[in-house]
């Protein structure tokens, strides 16, 4: 751990270390068959790996970033920030994008004002771990009244087995500012285990308009990701939040987006696609803490291989948050007979005079759609690919970021190609059977 001049941070870290020591490695259980267990993870064998700064961006990162011109970039490899860049013009305008470590040194008061406002080391073993042990990290501050076109980018890279990456990102977007912030989690292909334990907090202040994307693609190595992400939306501010989960041995994420003041608005769009032995456990909360706020959430997922994916999406409208209007839709598509998943929308409403609706489906590809496409000359495997891509297209359209859209479309196509044979077999087995769809619907008004 770096020696810090900020004693306030030392205090916070030591509280978190205590919380960490007091917690057992958890097993998460939910109603039904769902259990997320870390018993296969050899936590003691992992440690933070430090690296020298890099002049050139590694290919695995540059491929994901594509040709988009960036306003800023912070790249963390293992435990170390290895590359940072900030457009000089943005620096001149007062934008700060750097490692959190450095921000603590250079902007101690600013960081202290926001640090861990919405995160707590008391939330569990790994929330405590990231709060206690984070290194490198990311800090973004956009001063008020700025409109930034080029995306601000951060990347957490794990490219060595044995790595424990404790991450912390803090982003503060000033009043009436507009920007787009993308955080990518990328893993190289390797044999062996690694861990990413992350905390993410973003504050969109009054009147801000922010696009936030999380793109997680840990690859085919055995990377475990246990993270908590929280987005707070201030008065009359808007945040479009896009978490995308495309790979990781085991992922357990708590994703919360909070309309904290009147007039705040969220557009929350998620996507996941699991394969092989991957295990994904997502719990999202759209929390409305004040009245006169709005929300619109769509999550879609697909599963191949022997993968497991559970999505639970909660709308929580607290007491007195009247005149809240929000809805949540979640869909999940099974593409393999060995895959298992669920998609559960739920609702807690502690006030009246609101409208909140939610719906969820778990289903398989529709044999009528496949037949229809085949009657137009499209071979079965091609029809399946087009239908799955079409299924995701609704959420891809909502990403609102061409570079990210292209990346997501490419990865979906790659995953479908990799699973082509098993999907064809699965759909073939299903032909003629009754579709095993079930619907979950709920309303509250």
């Amino acid at each position: 751990m770096p020696a810090s001049t900020a004693t306030w941070l030392d205090d916070k870290r030591s509280q978190a270390r205590e919380a960490y020591a007091g917690e057992e490695v958890p097993t998460w259980r939910r109603s039904g068959f769902w259990t997320t267990s870390l018993r296969k993870l050899d936590l003691d064998a992992l440690e933070p790996r430090h690296h020298e700064p890099l002049d050139a961006i590694p290919p695995i990162v540059s491929e994901a970033l594509g040709d988009d011109e960036l306003g800023a970039l912070v790249l963390q490899r293992g435990a170390s920030t290895v590359h940072t860049f900030l457009d000089p013009q943005l620096a001149e305008q007062g934008v700060i994008v750097t490692s959190l470590e450095r921000a603590v040194e250079e902007h101690s008061d600013l960081v202290r004002e926001w640090y861990m406002r919405r995160l707590s080391p008391e939330e569990g073993k790994f929330a405590a771990a990231s709060a206690a042990f984070w290194t490198g990290g990311v800090f973004v501050h956009v001063p008020k009244g700025l409109k930034i076109e080029k995306p601000i980018q951060s990347v957490y890279l794990i490219d060595e087995p044995g790595t424990a990456q404790y991450a912390h990102t803090l982003a503060v977007i000033g009043e009436n500012s507009e920007c787009s912030f993308r955080e990518y989690c990328l893993g190289a292909r390797f044999e062996g285990q690694a861990l990413h334990a992350g905390g993410f907090e973003l504050y969109a202040q009054a009147g801000a308009n922010v696009q936030v994307a999380h793109f997680q693609d840990w690859g085919s190595g055995e990377i475990y990701d246990i993270s908590t992400k929280r987005v707070e939306i201030g008065r009359d501010a808007h945040v479009g939040w896009v978490p995308v989960h495309l790979g990781g041995r085991l992922t357990k994420q708590t994703l919360d987006i909070i309309t904290a003041e009147q007039g705040s608005d969220m557009r929350h769009t998620g996507l996941y696609f699991t394969e092989r032995d991957e295990h994904l456990d997502l719990f999202t909360t759209d929390k409305h803490e004040r009245g006169h706020t709005t929300g619109d959430t769509v999550w879609k997922g697909a599963l191949t291989g022997r993968s497991r994916a559970s999505y639970e999406g909660l709308i929580h409208i607290v007491k007195d948050a009247q005149e809240t209007h929000t809805y949540l839709q979640t869909h999940q598509m099974l593409l393999s007979s060995d895959a298992k998943g669920d998609a559960i929308p739920s609702l807690i409403v502690q006030t009246d005079n609101v409208s909140a609706s939610h719906g969820g489906t778990v289903g398989e590809l529709d044999e009528d759609q496949i037949f229809y496409m085949m009657t137009r000359g499209v071979p079965r495997s091609e029809a399946v690919r087009i239908l799955v891509e079409g299924y995701f297209e609704e959420v891809v359209q909502r990403l609102n970021d061409e570079g990210l859209q292209a990346l997501v479309r490419r990865r979906i196509a790659e995953k479908l190609l990799a699973a082509e044979d098993q999907v064809a077999k699965f759909i073939g087995e299903r032909a003629g059977e009754d579709p095993a769809d079930h619907d979950l619907e709920g309303e509250a008004a």
Binding site: E367, Y372, M373, T375, P379, G390, E394, G432
Partner: protein, 250 residues
């Protein structure tokens, strides 16, 4: 060049629906297959196209002399068969234009050029009086009944099959839409496209005059004739045919 159905018996979920159907559609002919609900018309349409839910237990389907009874639906389509669906599926995330281009490319060795595709699409949309914005909508998503039928006929016009089966294309259309769709079919049919119009009602046959009419009852073709048979049916109704068949059987 023809579609020929010989002694076709078809089962769905253990129940036999078609009990030996014979029918031949040459590529310069227009046939109408008429029958009341539940007579097996749609079963025949689905079986011609190879829907896996329908099982052929006896007889065969020949296309241009080749036995296609066991062929996959996409092979039949690439050979030149087309079915305009009564209830076409929705294809989310795929625009009408992209879908059409994909379907056209599926039956060509060389991909169609973007410019050429655009031109053909425009011409056919004009023919069917379809608004240009239509082509960027996801196929059949949120389409009205009439829009779905027009999208089917647009595909027919773009794909130019050798034999087209139109399954209840007239149902659910108001008189203006029916006229537009009929004009489209008239522009496309014969001498290079054989057409099998499947319908419950005679009204589309006022616009698209068939060369041959076949009446189906309970999974069998019970009467055949020229266009005048449709007129007779309009006058007397299916019960008359049913009584006649019963009398002959007795």
């Amino acid at each position: 060049m023809s579609l020929e159905i010989q002694n076709l018996h078809v089962r769905i979920e253990e129940r036999e629906i078609l009990h030996g159907v014979d029918l031949k559609v040459d590529k310069d002919q227009t046939h109408a297959l008429m029958g009341p609900n539940g007579s097996g018309k749609s079963t025949l349409a689905n079986t011609i196209m190879g829907n896996p839910n329908y099982e052929v237990t006896e007889g065969k389907i020949l296309f241009n002399g080749e036995d296609i009874t066991e062929a996959a639906p996409d092979e039949r389509a690439r050979a030149g068969l087309f079915l305009a669906f009564q209830y076409p599926a929705t294809i989310p995330g795929v625009s009408v234009a992209n879908f059409l281009r994909m379907a056209m490319n599926a039956r060509r060795d060389e991909q169609i050029k973007v410019k050429e595709f655009g031109k053909v699409l425009r011409e056919n949309m004009e023919l069917l009086r379809i608004d240009t914005a239509f082509s960027s909508r996801y196929l059949n998503e949120g389409f009205s009944g009439g829009e779905k039928k027009r999208a089917e006929i647009l595909q027919l016009a773009m794909l130019k099959p050798e034999v087209a089966v139109l399954d209840e294309t007239d149902s659910g259309l108001d008189i203006d839409a029916l006229r537009i769709v009929s004009d489209g079919v008239n522009a496309l049919r014969g001498p290079t496209m054989g057409t099998l119009i499947i319908t419950h009602y005679t009204r589309i046959l006022h616009y698209v005059r068939p060369d041959f009419v076949h009446i189906m009852l309970d999974g069998r073709i019970v009467r055949e004739g020229g266009a005048e048979l449709a007129d007779e049916l309009e006058e007397k109704g299916y019960d008359f045919v049913r009584e006649e068949v019963a009398a002959n059987a007795g």
